[in-house]
């Protein structure tokens, strides 16, 4: 048996200059890219605030509590748009949340294996429809249907509630906007909830079934309590989407600057007011006020996303934490 020669040279392997440069170079370049993303978010906040600053310093916080938007008298306030944003998003989530949770439960627990994938991707395709196309459909198909059929019916039967006032003649209004937002929000909330439901340990689900619970009792007793906070986060993410949607809402909400209780009436949200004024404002003050609206939207967008992400993070293994 041959022995290893004792004078076998054991040199300390030294990596080539190219490799050392390459390692550090790649790390530095990718780090720079990651920092660029952070800088980008900072720059967005800084720039939008800077653009809005003339109006912020002119109006202060009273901008938020004034409901006049009168380009002729040059008086501007955001309250009616804040109201429009809150109500349209609230209505959309009111309809979308139960629907989305039901869809997610069906997809994760009830659907037969064969159709699960197909229906799941169809629901996701709903999210892929461009908002401008959905808005076009909203004005020309959904709107006329609502103004001729559904809104008169609701007004006749539930008209004693002030929110179901006289139907709109054109089909544009807060209610149409809320329904379009519902269509946009449902697939987002449903796909997050589905992931959450699939992560509930199957021992718990099977345990409940083995104890004689029906599937609905298992869902209500095991799955929903285990994912409660996650569902809340999904709804907040949907809220962020609904609050910030500009295009489809602009197309169908009708454009109004008054606060009305009738949900069939025209209104405007913060985002839709900005979008509908893209062809330029009449005066410098109006332009500045629009930028103030953008700043409000930015702050709301940052807050809702931040809260939702912090909560979602507790469930998502990819995003670390826990």
């Amino acid at each position: 048996m041959a022995s290893i020669p004792s004078d076998y040279p054991v040199t300390h392997p030294r990596r080539g200059l190219g490799d050392r440069l390459g390692d550090h170079g790649l790390k530095a370049i990718t780090l720079a890219a990651a920092l660029a993303a952070v800088v980008l978010l900072g720059a967005i906040v800084w720039k939008v605030m800077e653009l809005a600053w003339p109006a912020i310093s002119y109006y202060g916080l009273s901008f938020l509590t004034s409901d006049t938007w009168d380009p002729v008298r040059k008086e501007f306030g955001a309250l009616s748009f804040i109201y429009g944003t809150v109500i349209s998003s609230f209505l959309a989530l009111l309809i979308a949340t139960p629907l989305a949770v039901a869809i997610a439960l069906w997809l994760s627990e009830l659907a037969p294996r064969g159709v699960r994938g197909v229906i799941g991707s169809l629901v996701e395709m709903l999210a892929a429809i461009p908002s401008v196309v959905l808005g076009l459909w909203g004005i020309l198909v959904l709107g006329p249907y609502l103004s001729h059929t559904l809104e008169p019916w609701l007004h006749d039967h539930l008209g004693f509630l002030p929110i179901f006032g006289p139907p709109s003649s054109t089909g544009t209004g807060m209610f149409t906007a809320a329904l379009i937002l519902t269509i946009m929000v449902v697939p987002i909330v449903a796909s997050i909830c589905r992931e959450l439901f699939l992560q509930v340990p199957s021992e718990l689900e099977e345990g409940a079934l083995a104890l004689g619970a029906t599937r609905w009792e298992m869902i209500r007793g095991v799955i929903l309590p285990a994912t409660r906070t996650g569902i809340a986060a999904a709804v907040i993410l949907g809220l962020g989407r609904a609050l910030g949607e500009a295009i489809a809402v602009t197309q169908v909400i009708g454009g109004g600057t008054k606060i009305t209780r009738n949900i069939f009436g025209p209104s405007d949200t913060i985002a839709s007011k900005i979008a509908s004024s893209y062809q330029g404002a009449a005066s410098g003050l109006e332009a500045a006020s629009l930028l103030y609206l953008a700043a409000i939207l930015l702050v709301i967008g940052l807050l809702t996303n931040f809260v939702a992400q912090i909560v979602v993070r507790r469930f998502d293994p990819l995003r670390g934490a826990r």
Partner: protein, 294 residues
């Protein structure tokens, strides 16, 4: 020992029957909700297709819009403009997004990765009209609207999507591959560029296509960056270029039947592109992930 009384029955009664009925109702509600979502999707697709049909002709794809708003125009200039703007946006967002994903999966310590990921997620959820205002502030004020400003705005929308998709694919690379390369004495950067990146190329590209499909339908970032344009066909990216989403948006706001018909036609073109691109990308993605996750 007593025997079972003959009238004992296995049919559920009382409480159990109620529980079963509630269960059936709830299962029915879930099924209905899923069907409703699919029905809405079908309704939108069918009504766009039906209403777009009269507008679709060869001229529709080859002619620019009729300047006087009359019949006979097409959307060729908007198609060209959209391709240029989305192409430039992809060229900006794809490399940057992949670099960020490489940093996050290969190099970043946890203390850095978590906040960077948070920033990307927040960027993803930001209202796109705010992104449009931001780019308007840095590139349009003091200059004019331009296709490249529009491309920058769309790139900001795409960046978190591309980074996320690339990151998900990179995480699927089996660690045996990475460790094998390192054990053979291959340096880190060559491992990343020569071994890991090629295996994930399919996943990264399909992620890019998905982000592109999303960007192609975005209107809000373009409203303040590339919306006031000359309707003729142009490839000059230093000026605002016509593009499909803004065209649909402006036509839909006009009370004009002819323009509505054109808007439906453009909507069909846009939706067909977006749905086909995202469906095929998702199919490819599922395949490449299965291959990696083996």
């Amino acid at each position: 020992m007593s025997t079972l009384s003959p009238e004992f029955s296995l049919r559920p009664t009382g409480r159990l029957r109620r529980r079963r009925i509630v269960n059936k109702i709830m299962e029915g509600v879930g099924t209905l909700a899923a069907l409703l979502a699919v029905a809405v999707l079908g309704l939108v697709i069918v009504s766009v297709a039906v209403r777009a049909a009269p507008a679709i002709s060869l001229d529709f794809f080859t002619k620019p819009p009729n300047i006087f708003g009359g019949p006979g125009g097409g959307i060729s200039s908007a198609i060209v403009g959209s391709i240029l703007i989305v192409g430039m946006a992809t060229a900006l967002a794809l490399p940057l997004g992949v670099l960020i994903a490489i940093y996050l999966t290969e190099f970043a310590p946890r203390a850095v990765a978590v906040p960077v990921q948070l920033v990307l997620d927040i960027l993803n959820g930001l209202p796109t009209i705010v992104t449009g205002i931001f780019v308007y502030g840095i590139l349009v004020i003091g200059h004019t609207q331009s296709a490249y400003a529009g491309a920058v705005a769309l790139a900001i929308v795409m960046l978190p999507l591309v980074a996320r998709a690339a990151q998900e694919t990179l995480l699927l690379v089996p660690s045996a591959l990475r460790e094998g390369a390192l054990a053979l004495g291959v340096s880190r950067w060559r491992t990343v560029l020569g071994v890991i990146l090629p295996t994930t190329l399919g996943g990264i590209l399909t992620g890019g296509v998905l982000a592109m499909a999303r960007a192609a339908g975005e209107t809000a970032p373009l409203l303040f960056t590339s919306s006031i344009f000359n309707p003729a066909v142009s490839t000059d990216v230093s000026h605002a270029l016509p593009n499909i989403p803004v065209l649909i948006f402006t036509y839909s706001e006009q009370p004009d039947q002819v323009l509505h018909e054109q808007a439906w036609g453009a909507a069909l073109v846009l939706m067909a592109f977006v749905l086909v691109a995202s469906l095929s990308a998702k199919a490819l993605l599922a395949r490449s992930q299965r291959k990696l996750g083996r």
